[in-house]
């Protein structure tokens, strides 16, 4: 029995005929690899995670690439593989790397690193579309691993700018206990320090009751000891309890962080900068709204498409060099060109500050200046990052 028999492979070939191409024919295969993770239960099932989260964005990006490519004799195809929880991801990755050096990967940080360190991946161009761990852009960075998803630090820096601008200086935080919550809380503390803010009281969410029935009774009591403050930050990255804090806190104050006013890569409420077109295109193709991970996969796919369009090459070294160069820019429906940080492989991008009904602001906020690019006020700037393998 083959060890990775549970791997489900799909091939979507998009071969467009080329009647007008002036450039030489170039074909690019892109692999999409999802390493399934077990998810703990959440108090509410209101927002199920789409089966095709991420992959759907890659597919929309593939369509965009293919439409563009047909005028130039460039073709793109997407091969996707899913590795079930506990299955052998090394074998699956090696198999996919034997077919293409270009992979979009949905996996936790430790798996991403294991994949990047495979000998077969040495000359590959890998895109992280799911892990926000700041360490991956710092001491754990890898030269063959680019990050289309913003780091946690970029998101919490964006919110910290909002706190400064709104003069919400008296802040408290409620954190969950999952590793993702702890990482988010750590990133938030770092951001508050970076922007000269102080965190007051902190509490850990330790209830195990079903909040759909009694949040109204329990949250006021839980938040009463926090006293008065300007805003309550919630670190609940898995969407477990945070939704029950809104309008239930002891004092009437805004909730921000993982719930309420949030910093997001993408959101269905973004309609500025021509985003409606991308939202419509995505919704028509996939019968649902585009989420952050979809956007990250779309941006990674479009990055490869743009690099092929401009270089006319499918050589991973040439494409990687171009992507990290000053010549690269991607129109990503965020109002300014997206580029890649050449010190740690992070996609440089504005961050949406939004609630579920509307976009509130876009970071970097006005007044947060930078000597090179204001977008680098978000996340690890060149002097901060301890990543050395990109230099």
């Amino acid at each position: 029995m083959r060890k990775f028999a549970e791997i489900f492979m799909v091939c979507v070939a998009v071969q467009m005929s080329c009647s007008l191409g002036v450039a030489a024919d170039v074909a690019l295969s892109i692999g999409y690899l999802e390493i399934k993770q077990s998810r703990p239960p959440t108090l509410s099932n209101l927002d199920p995670i789409p089966e095709d989260l991420g992959l759907a964005g890659a597919q929309t990006g593939l369509g965009d690439n293919a439409t563009t490519g047909r005028f130039l004799g460039h073709s793109f195809d997407l091969q996707s593989g899913i590795v079930d929880v506990g299955a052998d991801h090394v074998a699956a990755t090696a198999d996919m790397l034997s077919r293409t050096p270009f992979l979009l990967i949905d996996a936790p940080a430790d798996v991403l690193l294991a994949i990047a360190d495979l000998p077969q991946a040495k000359d590959a161009v890998l895109f992280n579309i799911s892990a926000g761990d700041t360490a991956l852009r710092d001491t754990d960075c890898r030269a063959n691993l680019l990050h289309a998803l913003p780091s946690d630090a970029m998101l919490t820096d964006a919110l910290a700018q909002v706190f400064v601008q709104k003069r919400w200086t008296d802040l408290v935080m409620v954190s969950g206990t999952y590793p993702q919550d702890v990482a988010y809380a750590d990133a938030m503390r770092r951001s508050l320090t970076k922007f000269g803010l102080k965190l007051g009281q902190e509490k850990t969410w330790a209830f195990d009751a079903d909040m759909r029935r009694n949040a109204a009774q329990e949250v006021p009591l839980f938040t009463q000891p926090l006293g008065d403050y300007d805003a309550l930050i919630v670190a609940d990255e898995l969407g477990d309890f945070g939704r029950y804090l809104l309008y239930n806190t002891w004092v009437a104050r805004p909730v921000t962080g993982s719930e309420g006013l949030s910093a997001l890569t993408w959101s269905p409420v973004i309609e500025q900068w021509g985003a409606t077109q991308l939202q419509n295109r995505f919704a028509q193709e996939h019968d649902r709204a585009m989420q952050s991970q979809d956007y990250a996969a779309w941006a990674a796919m479009r990055t490869l498409g743009e690099a092929v369009t401009r270089t006319g090459s499918n050589d991973p070294a040439i494409l990687r060099d171009y992507i990290l160069s000053d010549d690269f820019e991607l129109a990503g429906f965020k109002g300014r060109p997206l580029t890649w940080r050449d010190w740690n492989g992070q996609l440089r991008q504005p961050i949406a500050i939004a609630h579920t009904r509307a976009l509130v602001a876009q970071a970097p906020l006005e007044g947060f200046l930078h000597r090179v690019n204001e977008l680098d006020t978000l996340g690890l700037d060149r002097p901060e990052s301890r990543c050395e393998v990109f230099e």
Binding site: L20, F71, A331, P337, L375
Partner: protein, 319 residues
């Protein structure tokens, strides 16, 4: 002949001097605002279909065509009454269009469909649909009517359409997110603005080769925020006025040297523009501030801003 002159003279005596009107589409109000170019006031507001964007008049100004994007229609309005006469089939999500010099064919960019649709305005039938890149937007037609251009925002190309065969004969790459295209110098040059790329590329129409590229720089505004969108040429084709989107300025470009001579501060997120009858004034639509800036062309100064509807987008002149 003499009688005719007399009638005209008496008419002009009877009716107060009326230099013309600027018609503005308000994208998020589903209306048109009509500005009197003498008094610089809004004299009419007409209801349109959903999300009106592109606007243009027929050659004799007896009809106004409006891209009602979210209604998936091009509407035909009687400009005397504001009455919608009928809709033209337009394909999905028409954003911008150009009327062929034959006054009969509209070339329409269908933003959601990656298609340019050709509609006969008399028979009200779709004549052709031409596959172009992702999110077509900018539309231009050469003065001789032989070439129509569609620019595609995500594909980053100008697509050159042979109007005789309705096929593409060239596709030229430009910088990111091309938004607007215009022929100039008797059709010898094609200019294409790239919003995210922050540039205008000039092509030789005969060879489709690149002649030059211009970029813009405004003190105190990050280059990423300087985003050229709509532009218009003065009738002598010596200057182009270029809207720079969220940079809130209009650039005055020397069309011979491709150099920027001046930046004029206007309203927020300046989009498109139209000259008045004698080209003494230029009217720019400012999406975010919901107004129209009036520029004195000779003095290169903004002289007034006029409140219109929400998110003004397109502008067209009517005598």
């Amino acid at each position: 002949m003499k009688l005719c002159h007399m009638i005209l003279a008496s008419l002009s005596l009877a009716v107060p001097a009326h230099a013309g009107e600027i018609w503005v589409t308000n994208e998020k109000d589903d209306t048109l605002s009509v500005i009197d170019t003498d008094t610089l006031e809004v004299i009419q507001t007409y209801a349109t279909g959903e999300r009106p964007r592109g606007i243009t008049f027929s050659a004799d100004f007896s009809r106004v065509y409006i891209c009602a994007s979210d209604s998936d229609a091009v509407q035909v309005m009687d400009p005397e009454t504001g009455e919608i006469l009928h809709d033209l089939p337009s394909g999905e999500d028409p954003e911008q269009f150009v009327l062929h010099p034959d006054d009969k064919h509209l070339y329409i960019a269908n933003e959601d469909d990656a298609v340019t649709t050709v509609v006969d305005v008399d028979s009200r039938k779709v004549v052709a649909q031409i596959d172009v890149g992702v999110e077509p937007e900018g539309m231009a037609v050469s003065p001789d009517g032989k070439v129509v251009i569609t620019t595609s925002e995500t594909t980053n190309m100008a697509h050159w359409i042979d109007t005789g065969t309705h096929t593409l004969f060239a596709n030229t790459l430009v910088d990111s997110r091309p938004r607007h295209a215009e022929f100039t110098k008797g059709g010898a040059e094609l200019w294409v603005s790239s919003e995210i790329g922050g540039s205008i590329t000039v092509f030789d129409s005969a060879t489709q080769g690149e002649l030059g590229k211009m970029t813009f720089e405004i003190k105190g505004v990050h280059p990423d925020r300087v985003q050229p969108v709509g532009f218009e040429f003065t009738p002598d084709e010596k200057y182009a006025f270029v809207a720079l989107g969220p940079a809130n300025h209009v650039a005055v470009v020397n069309a011979q040297t491709y150099e920027v001579e001046e930046y004029i501060l206007v309203g927020r997120r300046v989009w498109h523009m139209a000259f008045d009858g004698d080209h003494a004034r230029l009217f720019t639509t400012n999406g975010v501030s919901g107004d129209v800036t009036v520029i004195d062309v000779a003095a290169r100064k903004a002289v007034k801003s006029i409140k219109v509807g929400r998110f003004p987008w397109g502008a067209a002149f009517r005598p």
